[in-house]
C-alpha cells in the first residue's frame, strides 16, 4: 500500500517495504544524503530529522509510521536560500570538525530551541547526539548564539 507524506514541504509517495527505516528511504531513494547513518539503533543521533517538527531518529522509524506526516531533513531546514539561525550560528562558532554528526546535531538543536527558546546548559545537556570529534563546547556556544538571535528577532 502506498505511503503518502510530505518531505521538505513537497508531497511524496512511497510504495516499497513499509518496514524500511526512513533513514534509508532518505539516503538511498530520495538521495538526500545529508542525514547520516551512525548506529542503526536510534542511539547516536546522526540520522536525526524532524517528524511533524519534532527531532526523531530516522534509522528506527519505519516508513509505515511516516504516512500523512511532515518530514524535514537538514536539506530542508534553510528556506529560500536563507539559513536557519542555528545553521548560521554553527558556521559562526566554527563548530564542525569532521562534520559527519553535525546535521543530526543541528536538527536536534533546532528542536530544542523551538521547545525551549532560552535553553540553559542543563537543557542543552539533554541532547544525546554523539560527536566523536568532541565539538560539544562549540555546539553549546552555537545553540546559545542561535537562541539569542531568535529571541532578538521575536521581540
Amino acid at each position: 500500500m502506498a505511503i503518502d507524506f510530505t518531505l521538505n514541504q513537497r508531497p511524496v509517495r512511497y510504495d516499497g517495504d513499509p518496514a524500511m527505516p526512513l533513514l534509508w528511504y532518505l539516503r538511498d531513494h530520495a538521495r538526500l544524503t545529508g542525514t547520516k547513518f551512525g548506529c542503526g539503533i536510534g542511539y547516536c543521533g546522526a540520522c536525526t530529522v524532524h517528524l511533524d517538527g519534532a527531532a526523531t531518529r530516522s534509522c528506527v522509524v519505519p516508513m509505515s509510521a511516516v504516512g500523512g506526516r511532515r518530514v524535514t531533513t537538514i536539506e530542508g531546514l534553510a528556506s529560500d536560500g536563507r539559513l536557519h539561525p542555528v545553521q548560521q550560528a554553527w558556521i559562526e562558532e566554527d563548530v564542525a570538525q569532521c562534520g559527519y554528526c553535525q546535521a543530526g546535531q543541528i536538527m536536534a538543536a533546532v528542536d530544542l530551541i523551538t521547545r525551549t527558546p532560552a535553553p540553559s546548559d542543563a537543557d542543552i545537556a539533554t541532547l544525546t547526539n554523539l560527536c566523536r570529534c568532541g565539538t560539544y563546547p562549540r555546539i553549546r556556544r552555537a545553540i546559545r548564539r542561535a537562541a539569542a538571535q531568535l529571541n532578538r528577532t521575536r521581540r
Binding site: 547520516k36 536539506e75 570538525q97 569532521c98 546535521a103 545537556a125
Partner: protein
Amino acid sequence: MSAVPDTRALSRRAFLGVSLSAAGGLLLALRSGAAGQETAAAGEALGAFIRIEPDGRIVIGARGCEIGQGVKTSLPMLIAEELDVPWPAVTVEQLPYGLVAARDPPGFTSLYGPQGAGGSTNIPDGWHDLRLAGARARWLLIQTAARVWETPPDRLTTREAHVVHPDGRTLGYAELAPRAAKLDLPAADLPLKARSEYRIIGQPTRVVDARDIVTGVAAYGIDAAIPSALTALIARCPYFDGEVASVDEAQARRVPGVRQVVRIPGPRPGAPLDRNLAAGVAVLADDFWSARKGREALRITWTRPSGAADSSAALERRATAALAASAKIARRDGNPDEARNAAARVVEAVYVMPLLAHATMEPPNALIDLKPKSALLIASLQSPGGASQMIHAMTGVARTDIEIRLPRVGGGFGRRLQNDFVAEAVLVAQAAGTPVKVMWTREDDLQNDFYRPFGLHQLRASLDAQGRLTSWAHRVAATPRKYRAAGMEDAADWVGCVDPDGFPAGCVASYLAEFVPVDFSIPRGWWRAPLPTFCAFAVESFLDEVALAAGTDPLTLRLDLLGAPRELPYRDHGGPTLHTGRLGGVLDSAAGAIGYGRKLPAGRGIGLASHFTHGGYVAHALEVAVSQAGALEVVRCVCAADVGEIVNPLGLEAQMMGATLDGLSTALELEITVRDGRIEQSNFPDYRLLRMGAAPDVEVHLLPSGFPPSGAGEMGIPSVAPALANAIFAATGQRIRRLPVGDQLKSPARAS
C-alpha cells in the same frame, strides 16, 4: 561541494609545470627536482595546485584527506599566504589522489605531494612546499607584469591579488594569468614571507566547507553513488582467521532487491594483514535495506580456529606473567638495578591499558568501479596511496589508471590508515562483476577493527635519602603493534608500545625501557597518537606517585626533572629532539591557568600532566569533584599547547578541544573486551562515547613559541587521562591504575 578535477586529464600538463587552465587562466602544479620513486619523493617538497581564472576566481586545491583535522582549510591557507591573495577571494577545491609515472628512475611520484592523514604530518609536510607553491605562482605573475610594464620585476610588489608598480599602477592576477601561464617556473627556491608579513597564517579561519556541512550537501565517502553500483553488506566470520564452513543463501536470494550473494576469502592465517580482515559472505542489493535483510537471511556456520577460545581475562593473565619474564631492552642508561639496590625508597606500580576501537562516526565504506584497464574508488580514506597500491596489487590495473576521489571523511583516528574495507570492495566487485559500494554497520565496525594494543605498564623508581629520583624503569608487557602488520616486519618488537626516549628519559641518571611481547590473535592498529596515548597514562600517573613518595609537589618534580631548557634526542616519530623547555612551558601555562596550588574544598582535586607528541607539546590541568557516592564531575579543564607556528588558531583550538574530550571520553568509559574469541561490544550502548552532558568546556591556551609547526590532530589527547587520574587522586586519595575509570570510583575499593 565543488567538483573534483580529473587527475588523469590534468596530470600530463600539470606535470610539465605551468599551463593554461580549461577556461584560459593560469594553471600551476609545481614540482621541484626530478621525479623519483614515490617513496623517495614523499619527503621532498613537491607541489600544489593553483588555478587563477580570467573571471578573477582563485581556486586553490586541497591535497589532504579532510578527516576533521582541518587540513582542507589550513593547507590552502599556506598557499594563499604566499600567493598574496585575500582569503575570502579563494575557492578551495578538494584534489583527488594524484599520481604520475616517473621515467628515471621508473616508478611513480605524487602530483601534489603527501596526501595521507596520519601522524599529524600534514602541516609540517606542507609548511615549506605549499608556501613555496604560492610564492612561485606569485613570482610568475610578477614576471608577467614586469614584461607588460617593461619594468624590472624586483621593483614590483603584490597586494591582494594584484601586482603593484612603484608609481601606483596595478594589474590584477586574473588579467595576468593567461600570459603568466606561458612562462617557465623559477629554477631555484624563492624567499618566503617573514612572519611580520603574514596576512592569512595566524588568522582565525573557519572551516571552508562549513556551509556545505550545515546544509547537508557536503559529501562523505558514504554518500558516494554511481548509477550502476549495487550496495553490499558482508557477513564476516566473528572469529579471527576463521572461515565459512557452510552457507545457505537461498533465503537471502529471495529477499526483494537482493541481486547476488558472493563469498570472499579472508587473510591467510599468519600472513600480514594487508587486505581484508575476515572471510565472509557478501549480499549485493539495490539498496542498504535490502542488503541488510538479505544478510540477516543468510544461514552461515563458521570454523573456529585455535584463537577462538581466547579472552581478555586470559590475555591479562598472560601479560601479568610476562611482566616477570625476560624483556627486550629498548633503552638503558646508567645502572637501574644498582640504583634500586642503593635506594632509600623504591616505588612501583602497574597500569593497565585496554584494547580500544576507533568508532569513527562514519563507519567504513568504499565504492569501487573496476574495469579491465581502469578503476575508480570513492571512499573515506586516510591512506589513499595505500589504497592505490592495494587496488593495483589485487587487480593489475596500472596505478596511474586508478582514480581515487577524496570526499570528506567522517572521522579517522587511525582507523582508515588501514584499507581493509577497500580490499573488501575489490573482492566483492571482482566476484560479482559489478560496481559495488560496500557498507559497514556499527556492529561490523566495532567487531572488525585494528584495535589499539592492550598492555600492562610496570613502573619502578628509586629515590635517595633526600627524595631525589635516582632511577626510572618502565617495562611494558603488551600485544605487539607489529603483529602481522604489513610493512612492520623488520621493526623492533616494541615499536608502537614503548617510548624509549619519552620524558623522563635523559632526565634521570639510570633509566630503563623494556618490552615483553604478549601473544594475542586480534588485529591491532594505529589509534590516535598511538604510542603517546599508550604510554602517557602510566608515565604521567607514576610521576605523581613518585612525587607523593618523595614528598614533593608533582609540578615541582616535573619541572626539576626537566631542568634547564635543552634539546634531548628523541628517535621516534616527532623527533629528532624533545625540548625540555617547551614541555615545561606548557606545564607552567596549564598550571597557572587553573590556579594550581590553590586551596580546594573536600572532594575536589586538581591534576596535571603533559606529553611530547609527534613534535608538539601539550599539558592538561583538570579540576574534578568526586561525590561521596563516587560520582565524578570535571569542573574545569585546561589545555595548554605549543605546536610551534600557529597556522589557524581557530582550527588549532578545535583540535585541542576535540582531542581533550576524546581523551576524556576514552579514559572514562571506553574498552573493547574479548570473550570466546569474539569482540563483546557491538554498538554504541556498550562502547559509550562521551555525550554533551558530561563534556566540560575546554579552556585552550595556545603558546606562540615560534618554532616550525608540528601538526595538531593528535597532540591534545595523551595527557588527558593521566591529568584526570591525578586529579581524582588529589580529590579522593584513590589512585586509578586501570583504564577506563568506569565504575572504579563507585567500587568498595574507594571505601577502604
